[in-house]
């Protein structure tokens, strides 16, 4: 019975991330538009865009290989699996044993690898620029992310998300400066990974400094729909990761009462809206960086992660 329940929760979770991810993107766009005193498209617009793209015919470049055609499906699959592993409203997922932070990084890394390859496949110069920049950003963001993982693992004694959430929610945590540093570092990494504003502008196709959009410039039709959905899922994943690790309150941790799940879902909805508002506010308040300043920005995340680990060593060594 417990197994059935676990699988049920996992199924709900998989459907939930897929259904809610475009809504989060739509919310961020809407709030950004309102902050700029524009009317903005409806929050449901990303769904309509996805449907329209899915109905359209695919236009392929003449020299596109099988990799170019296969990559969107693989990218989408890897990102969906990763997003479904992060606990959103309950930690009792059927695949919670595999919801490991390092596994998450590996899944996202392979999705990025495929996207970078697909960007270079057709041989246009924009795709190449986008891929090389994406890999440059990734080579700095991933070490920072791993240091954050080390911090969490040292603190909670596990890299499994459900144990980390349970540890952070428990009263034995106390006041931790390392967690604060790791949170700031994770926010920086999330901004860089999701191509948000100080690093990349998600709203334009016509900028010489674009990164993500340059790689997917050659895609059209259902391929583009899958890639856009994967991008929305990735944003959703980072939001739920931050919510799960740093604000786990309300999350149903190993409980079987139905009320706990309802509360978890409500709390998660509130966290989602709050993070969407904060992201839009941050993106409106800040200007985009030059590409060559991005290493400094991510270097700060790396430094914060390292500092968090070092501080933790001090308090453990006593």
């Amino acid at each position: 019975m417990a197994l059935v329940l676990d699988f049920l929760i996992q199924g709900v979770q998989m459907a939930l991330v897929l259904l809610l991810a475009p809504l989060l993107t739509g919310l961020v766009r809407k709030v950004k538009a309102r902050l700029l005193r524009r009317q903005g498209a409806s929050v449901l617009q990303p769904y309509r865009d996805l449907l329209r793209l899915a109905r359209k015919e695919v236009v392929l470049a003449e020299n596109a290989s099988w990799l170019f055609r296969g990559a969107p499906y693989l990218i989408f699959a890897a990102t969906w699996v990763a997003a479904a592993l992060v606990p959103t409203f309950a930690t009792r997922l059927a695949f919670s044993w595999s919801a490991d932070l390092i596994a998450l990084i590996a899944l996202l890394g392979s999705a990025r690898f495929l996207l970078a390859l697909a960007g270079m496949d057709v041989g246009t110069s924009f795709g190449g620029i986008g891929s090389s920049r994406e890999v440059m950003i990734a080579s700095l963001a991933e070490p920072a992310m791993l240091l954050i993982v080390f911090t969490l693992a040292l603190l909670a004694g596990a890299t499994q998300l459900s144990s980390i959430a349970a540890y952070v929610a428990s009263p034995e945590l106390g006041l931790r400066v390392s967690l604060g540093l790791a949170l700031v570092a994770l926010v920086i990494v999330a901004i860089a990974e999701n191509a948000r504003i100080p690093v990349d502008n998600p709203a334009t196709h016509l900028e010489l400094t674009m990164v993500h959009e340059a790689m997917v410039l050659e895609y059209s039709g259902r391929h583009l729909a899958l890639i856009e959905l994967a991008a929305a899922l990735k944003l959703f994943l980072y939001v739920s990761l931050i919510a799960c690790v740093f604000v786990p309150w309300g999350l149903a941790i190993d409980e079987a009462r139905p009320m706990a799940y309802v509360m978890g879902a409500l709390a998660f909805g509130a966290k989602l809206v709050a993070s969407g508002l904060l992201l839009a506010l941050f993106e409106t308040a800040i200007a985009k960086m030059r590409v060559f300043r991005v290493p400094e920005f991510l270097g700060a995340a790396l430094m914060l992660g390292l500092l968090a680990t070092l501080l933790l060593f001090v308090s453990r060594g006593l």
């Binding site: 400094e296 430094m303 500092l307 001090v314």
Partner: protein, 220 residues
């Protein structure tokens, strides 16, 4: 000892190290001054918390001195100095920020390794404070080495002194007379440094240290 009291001390001392790193990262003069004031404020809070835990009332005086002199007076004086000097507000680094950050990380790791090994028998709070204090001192030194602008070297020097105060609060039995005289000597140092800055500026039209080097004929 109370777990929460220890955690708060850890938080404040840790943010002091973080403020040192932010000083190292920042490349605009006014922002650096604000950060320095923030670091002094954190120092005052940290010292006051130590006074509360240890029940040592003279430490409150130290905290007050740190707040008054280093969080308010010195930043204001430096602010006016930069205005009167009319210099470039961007600071040039000798090496890139990434390399500086890595060096800073190595220094923090070094100070932790050294201090935690040396002070094995001491009180946990004092050990931690000493480790963080050494890190702040080393980071201040690093800042003095990696900056070309004389004003930012002064800020590095002052932030180094913040580390010394932090170390002094951890060690029990530092007489108040010593602390007050240290605080005043810092003020005197500020006055002397200010005079020197104006002299350098008058002579070379810049406060870039490279001008001094070429004047002495060390670098062609």
């Amino acid at each position: 000892m109370d777990r929460l009291a220890f955690d708060i001390a850890h938080l404040l001392a840790g943010s002091l190290v973080l403020a040192s790193f932010m000083l190292l990262y920042q490349d605009r003069l006014y922002a650096m001054l604000n950060l320095f004031a923030l670091q002094a404020l954190l120092l005052a809070l940290s010292v006051a918390w130590q006074a509360h835990i240890q029940g040592a009332s003279h430490l409150y005086v130290t905290a007050g001195i740190a707040l008054l002199f280093k969080a308010i007076l010195i930043p204001l004086a430096l602010h006016r100095m930069i205005e009167r000097l009319g210099i470039h507000r961007e600071v040039e680094n000798v090496v890139g920020i990434g390399l500086t950050m890595l060096a800073g990380m190595a220094l923090v790791a070094l100070s932790m390794v050294v201090m935690l090994r040396v002070t094995a028998e001491a009180d946990p709070l004092a050990r931690e404070d000493l480790a963080f204090a050494l890190a702040v001192v080393l980071l201040g030194l690093l800042m003095m080495v990696t900056r070309r602008n004389a004003v930012s070297q002064v800020i590095g020097f002052m932030s180094m002194e913040n580390g010394l105060i932090l170390a002094a609060t951890g060690a029990k039995g530092m007489p108040l007379v010593v602390e007050i005289s240290v605080a005043f000597s810092i003020l005197v140092a500020l006055v002397v440094v200010g005079i020197f800055l104006f002299r350098i500026r008058e002579r070379f039209d810049t406060v870039d240290i490279r001008a001094l080097d070429s004047f002495r004929g060390e670098r062609r």
